[in-house]
Amino acid sequence: MRITKLLHPKDTMTSEERMQAAINLQVPDRVPVSPLIYYFAAYYAGMVNADLRDPANYSRAIDKCFNELGPWDALYPLNFYHAEIGTFIFPMKMLEPGLGLPPDAIRQFLEEEIMVPEDYEWITRACERTPSVSYIRLFLRWIPRIWSHIGEGWRSYVYMLPRIADNLWRWRSEYHDWHDRGVTQLYGFGLEAAFDSFSMARGILNFSRDLRKYPETIARAAEEMTDSYAFILKNLDRFFGVGRVVIALHRTSNDFISPDTFEKVALPSLKSLVERLKAEGVNSVLHCDGNWDLNLAALRELPAGCCVAQFDGASDIFKAKEIIGDRMCIYGDVPADLLALGSPSEVDEYCHRLIEEMGKGGGFILGSGCELAPNARPENVKTMMESVVKYGYYS
């Protein structure tokens, strides 16, 4: 990507140079900021959430946020123009605003069985026969179980593939527009990790049984998917030309599993994937939802200097700096409740602390804890964005 415009008068690096320096655990000119904004944009722009599936509406809403509350260094894209695309991050039955929910509601999920026990064996066979595309085959097997209007077998391919292509091309076009404004993007493409996908698709009760009955089967199936994950992430990232991908870990925190399960069942396949991506020159942004405090030490097993650990406010981010700060960039974590209910001075105080303590020596990206709360106070969002200019310069 070619970004030449600087975002602030005191900046000496472009947004991409700044992000890459932070990820490389180097000291950039200042702390970068990258909020995950989606539904907040609709609220702020006076739209309903369902409107955001229209690319023109999304563009208007996110532009308004950027122009009035930004700038930010890296766009965190989360705009699925076809609701079914969201399945690739959240393989669960979902209710979308305007599709099962009121148009001003936010996306929510149902804990139902999408993946049946036999699918673990199916994965083994698929990975033997078609290692590179087994991921696509698995998700297109699941999608008709999630979306009843999509037929099974070849019908799911006919329905989904054009929509996937449409969304990818739109994203690429949008990214080029952002580059012209001096803004990079956090990642080229993202997927939910295999372990987490199984957890979501089995449903929490079934997956709890699976973890007790056959943890080795889960670990093996996740490991077998690595070829396909690496193939898809690497090639789609190249399509976007970023060099970073998101690996979403919604179900791996200690809110869901024990540190022992993490180390024995979830981590091996995650490590394989991160190593494969590193070998291809692609960095991994680990979207670590929930409380990861007891998993932090094990994260040191991941290769150094190629990962970003994104926390959402539930983990002790300051402890994370101590334990893994020399191995990976840390990203976060202005909490949702602070942005929704706090005052600008409270937000300023917390951002200042993050920048001073987490930003010390580099290796830190400021962001909202997971998605920016839809009901965040705009003045709080602006305070967060401004904090990197107010406190974030290293010299």
């Binding site: 804990e111 709890s208 200690n254 869901f256 929704a340 706090g342």
Partner: protein, 207 residues
């Protein structure tokens, strides 16, 4: 036999617990003693969860075993021969359909002898009010994982106050983003970060 059932559910052994409950019922065991054994086992699960020896899968699975076991025992119970510590109304607030945490709390409260009225998810304030009124509940427990749930919690607390129930029922809240700040915002009495905390709060307010 009761000790074995308590140990099995405490070890989160689903098939073996259910088999033992069936066997005990077949042998004519006192159904109330079986319920008590299950409660004892669940108390161990709760302790281990608090000690971070057990995690969510253990909690969810043991709660399921408890429900399955109670379903086996219930036909053997004579109506009116169980005592409760009081009525609790629980639900996920309007606009939010998350139910994992709410379901666990509901089961843990049942395990601890409360008469739990689970209203499900996406529950409007008025439904909380009506159920709290009709059951004369001493505790209303609200769950929510979305930041948008903060307003729904506040609306529900306000609705309970308008209905004149706030001096009759304590209100507790829980869910991922819930903390002191949210508690202050919505005007509830207390919040719990996990199911064990919810049970402690119920014991404080009702037992």
């Amino acid at each position: 036999m009761s000790e074995k059932i308590a140990a099995l559910i405490a070890a989160v052994e689903e098939d073996m617990t259910l088999e033992e409950v069936r066997k005990a019922l077949g042998d004519g065991a006192d159904p109330l003693s079986l319920v008590e054994a299950l409660r004892e086992g669940m108390a161990v699960v709760g302790d281990k969860y608090e000690a971070r020896e057990y995690f969510l899968p253990d909690l969810i699975l043991s709660a399921e075993i408890f429900k399955e076991s109670i379903a086996l025992i219930e036909p053997h119970l004579q109506s009116g021969n169980t005592t409760t510590k009081g009525a609790v109304v629980i639900g996920t607030v309007h606009g939010d359909i998350h139910d994992i945490g709410k379901n666990i709390v509901a089961t843990m409260l049942k395990c601890n002898g409360y008469d739990v009225h689970d209203l499900g998810v996406d529950v409007p304030p008025q439904v909380f009010v009506e159920k709290a009124s009709s059951t004369q509940a001493g505790l209303v427990a609200m769950s929510g994982l979305l930041t948008l749930a903060f307003d729904a919690m506040k609306d529900t607390v306000d609705a309970l106050a308008e209905a004149g129930l706030r001096d009759k029922a304590k209100v507790i809240i829980g869910g991922g983003p819930v903390n002191e700040k949210v508690l202050e915002y919505c005007g509830a009495d207390a919040f719990g970060k996990d199911p064990a905390e919810a049970v402690r709060l119920a014991n404080r307010y009702l037992a």
